[in-house]
């Protein structure tokens, strides 16, 4: 069944918030899909990166409950390819931060298996915690 959505000035608030945090003018995205097709993690995502941006453009806050933004590896492949010069990694980070700043962590360090913690190098753990915890 198709979703019905409404678009009100409150939606614009969310867009402005993400624009402010990311420093990107998100309305500039013309939805060409370059980011999605080049994304190394897109196969794991519930929505594509361009869909994530579209949701922000429309101010649909449900995007905060999608998995896509957490799967961004900050590899900047989309950043160097976006024909409109947008930095999607900043947009994804802004979305993560909106969640994390409400003290909602994405992963629980205590639940990581002991053997993983032993095996993983610091570089992985620190960057992972930086991205997934507040």
């Amino acid at each position: 069944m198709a979703n019905k959505i409404t678009i009100t000035s409150e939606n614009v608030e969310f867009l402005r918030k993400v624009e402010e945090l990311s420093g990107e003018i998100i309305t500039l995205c013309d939805q060409c899909g370059t980011c999605s097709a080049g994304c190394p993690m897109v196969g794991e995502m519930d929505i594509t990166p361009s869909q994530m941006v579209r949701n922000v453009q429309l101010g649909i806050t449900d995007v905060l409950d999608t998995k896509a933004m957490w799967l961004c590896a900050s590899c900047f492949t989309c950043t160097v390819r976006c024909p409109r010069g947008l930095d999607l990694s900043k947009i994804a980070e802004a979305l993560r931060q909106i969640k994390l700043r409400k003290a909602v962590d994405y992963i629980d360090i205590n639940k990581l298996p002991e053997e993983d913690l032993k095996e993983l190098p610091q570089i992985a753990l620190i960057s992972g915690f930086r991205k997934f915890t507040g």
Partner: protein
């Protein structure tokens, strides 16, 4: 002739799981008549550059490290204001933080104020990656140092993300990099050109999305193997971990997968320069590179 003294930022992982990167890298640079000096005190750079506009607190750590380098300069410990970094992630984080404060005095002022017990950062430091230093020395000069050419060894350069992207910190064309290929040729090996050389390995997703990262490892390594690669080289401890250790997970889903060694480029250089075997540090490599190297008469 006295050695030129560069400040050197190692980063956390080079002191532990990637100790072989530091060991081989320092040996190689010594062989090139450079002295890399680590600051007496330094802290973790934060590993990733914070991407939200309002977040300055996470830039404090990298800037504090740059203040340490400024101190080394002030005290005459080093000859250079360019700090050499081995780890691609540290390089990327330090360089981006440096760029941000250099372009934004207001941010720098705030960051300086947050570190009221430190000297202010004076913006005098440049951040460079070891690969850039090698390029500056000249690959022909490096070729002269090669005592044991890596003939018949097919080496796939893996660039990953942090050396190439975003463009303002990348050291080569993000879509068609060649700098490592040139280094491989200088060592007498065959560089393998393959499209996945710049595709992300999944980075820190390895903490939480092991299988997804293993999938990328599989794609990258099989692509390199299809083009005839014997080994893959990298300059990032996180890429190294994902490409090397995650082969264990790859094996589970792809039993036919042929394991292959992942090396730091400095390890290969140490071999080519015919340095003491102790500097190679193969004990820390997950997939043992010795068999293939032996088969090519390099050990």
């Amino acid at each position: 002739m006295s050695r030129k003294k560069f400040p050197f930022y190692p980063g956390c992982t080079l002191k532990t799981k990637a100790e072989n990167f530091e060991r081989s890298g320092l040996a190689v640079t010594r062989a090139l008549n450079l002295e890399l000096i680590e600051p007496e005190r330094w802290n973790c750079c934060g590993t990733v550059f914070s991407l939200t506009d309002d977040d300055l607190i996470h830039h404090v750590a990298p800037i504090r490290d740059l203040i340490r380098i400024e101190e080394m300069n002030k005290n005459g410990i080093v000859d250079e204001s360019r700090v050499v970094v081995f780890c691609s992630m540290c390089y990327n984080t330090l360089k981006r933080a440096n760029l941000r404060v250099k372009e934004n005095d207001e941010d720098l002022e705030k960051i300086n104020n947050l570190m009221y017990r430190e000297d202010d950062y004076k913006k005098s430091i440049e951040v460079i990656h070891l690969m850039q230093l090698l390029q500056e020395i000249g690959f022909d000069k490096i070729k002269e140092k090669v005592k044991k050419p890596l003939t018949n060894l097919n080496v796939a350069p893996y660039y990953g993300c942090m050396l190439l992207r975003p463009k303002e910190v990348g050291i080569d064309d993000p879509e068609d990099p060649v700098i490592q290929d040139e280094l491989i040729m200088a060592m007498g090996a065959n560089p393998i050109d393959y499209p996945y050389k710049k595709v992300c390995c999944g980075s820190y997703q390895t903490v939480h999305e092991k299988e997804a990262v293993a999938g990328l490892t599989y794609d990258i390594l099989t692509n390199a193997q299809n083009e005839g690669a014997d080994v893959v080289i990298t300059s990032c401890p996180l890429c190294a971990f994902n490409l090397d250790n995650r082969q264990k997970e790859v094996k589970k889903t792809h039993p036919e997968f042929r394991e292959m060694p992942i090396l730091y480029f400095t390890q290969l250089m140490a071999i080519a320069f015919d340095l003491d075997e102790k500097t190679y540090g193969f004990d820390l490599n997950y997939i043992d590179p010795k068999p293939i190297l032996k088969s090519k008469n390099l050990l």
